[in-house]
Amino acid sequence: MEWLTERIGAEGVRGLGQFVGINLAFVVVLMIVAYTVLAERRVLALIQGRLGPNRVGYGGILQPFADLLKFIFKEEITPDKATKFVYFLAPIIAITAALMPIIVYPFGPTINLPFVGQVSLVIARFDIALLYVLGITSVGVYGIALAGWASNSKYSLMGGLRASAQMISYELSLGLSLVGVVLMSGTLDLYAIVEQQGGWYGMRWNIIRPDGLPQLLGFIVYLISAIAETNRVPFDLPEAETELVAGFHTEYSALKFALFFMAEYVNMFTVSMLATTLFLGGWQGPFVEQVPLLGIFYFLGKVIFFLFLYIWLRGTLPRFRFDQLMNFGWKFLLPVALLNVILTATMMFFMLRD
């Protein structure tokens, strides 16, 4: 370690660490995503009284790799009258925007690694982490909208239009539902927000934290808008298969389709991580102070709970109608999110005054 610091300086070591961390995080997240797809198929099958894919490997454990191989070897088809450049650009935007936010989430406390020393388990820690996440998420809509437009197909266009309208609408309540947490924490740094939720044996999570307002309302609004942001059931109108064939990715095949597919699941994963970090205490939990490595398991456990919730909802709920979706977003979720902001601010005002 000292040898490396002498050669390239402290800044260089930090940069190198972040570079390695980012690549490692991408690999880990993509593996988790692959197994989320498998879990989704198995759990859905369980809910529907089927078996699901269980042939490749023990209990279907190698199914994601079989799927990947299939995606790679399928023929790439580009529609004749597609706008070529944008048609290629769209899946790239989608997957880039999905992967970029994962670097800011703290997935464990500061631990003592052999040879390296004290390491905080977060890849990049900076002042505006939450805004960064929101900004990148809001750019992600271009992937879907442009895919729908460039395919030159009416189903794709309808899907793209629906997706952009839906994502703009629900982004507002999503952003507002987080304001309560930001007001209570007084920072946008995700690592600091998680650290503040320690105490009570690591159970002083923002969702039940008594200084200010417990963010239960904000949590519910966030959960619903996050499902809508990721275009999952019951908000999967952009790809409603009974109406639009497959929505915005109707004309995409092989790896380009796989990129959209991966982007959707990575988005699921990131919004689950954000919910965990902001509302459920991130890596905080009982005995984390004694055994810091437990933090990673708490974090992953909470995230997996959310992923399971997504799959569960998909097996349970029917799809919204589009006007219901818009009415619900603008006339119910947005006012509730505003109410949460006002209530939290009022509580904070009185508490800070005393």
Binding site: V86, L131, G135, S138, V139, A145, L161, S164, E171
Partner: protein
Amino acid sequence: MPWTILFFIIFGGMAVGCALSMVAQRNPLYSAVSLIGVFVALACLYLTLAAPFIAAVQIIVYAGAIMVLVVFVIMLLNAEEEARRPYRLKFLIPVAVGLATVLIAEAAFMLTVGGAARPDPVPPKVAEVGLTASVGTGLFTEYLLPFEVTSVLILMALVGAITLARRTQVIGVAEEDLAVAGGAAPSLEAASSGDRIITPGDTEATGQAMAREQIARGEAAAPARHGEEEKEGE
């Protein structure tokens, strides 16, 4: 320091290139995508200037909200490629070239000749200027009045937009139709004969609002039938 310069060259070049492409493209959607590129490049430049908050706001507001609406409208209207037309105001071309020359000469003068007299650009308290806390404190203490005035301005724009949209959709249609000589305009006929007129962009709510408007304006046959229909429909 060399890293900063490298990033400046990359993102500055990206901003200029995207801006040129935005002006030069004939397909409106390509122009919009280029403009998004400009905004992203500008945000990266803000980051190198140690103003992360401004960078994030740039992405969220411009790239994430305004341009999404622009792209949405372009997709919705299915805007075609613009046909190349002969320039109408030809004298503007030499004027533009002349002004550009003056601008570039001015910049070159400032950078070379005026360099000696130029004070060193020492940014005060670099670590604090662009951070969220300092921006927030500034906005809500020192610059509270301009901030509030700006919000009132935006509110006015909002109210204005809603007023304009409402007038064209509901009242405007009815007024135009009533102004037609002979009274019975086609759309009103259709409405009173029970068919619902559906135009692009209409939702069920606007249709019902239109029906109510017609009832309020005293359509003779409409009220009872519409009332019943709405009940049945529910």
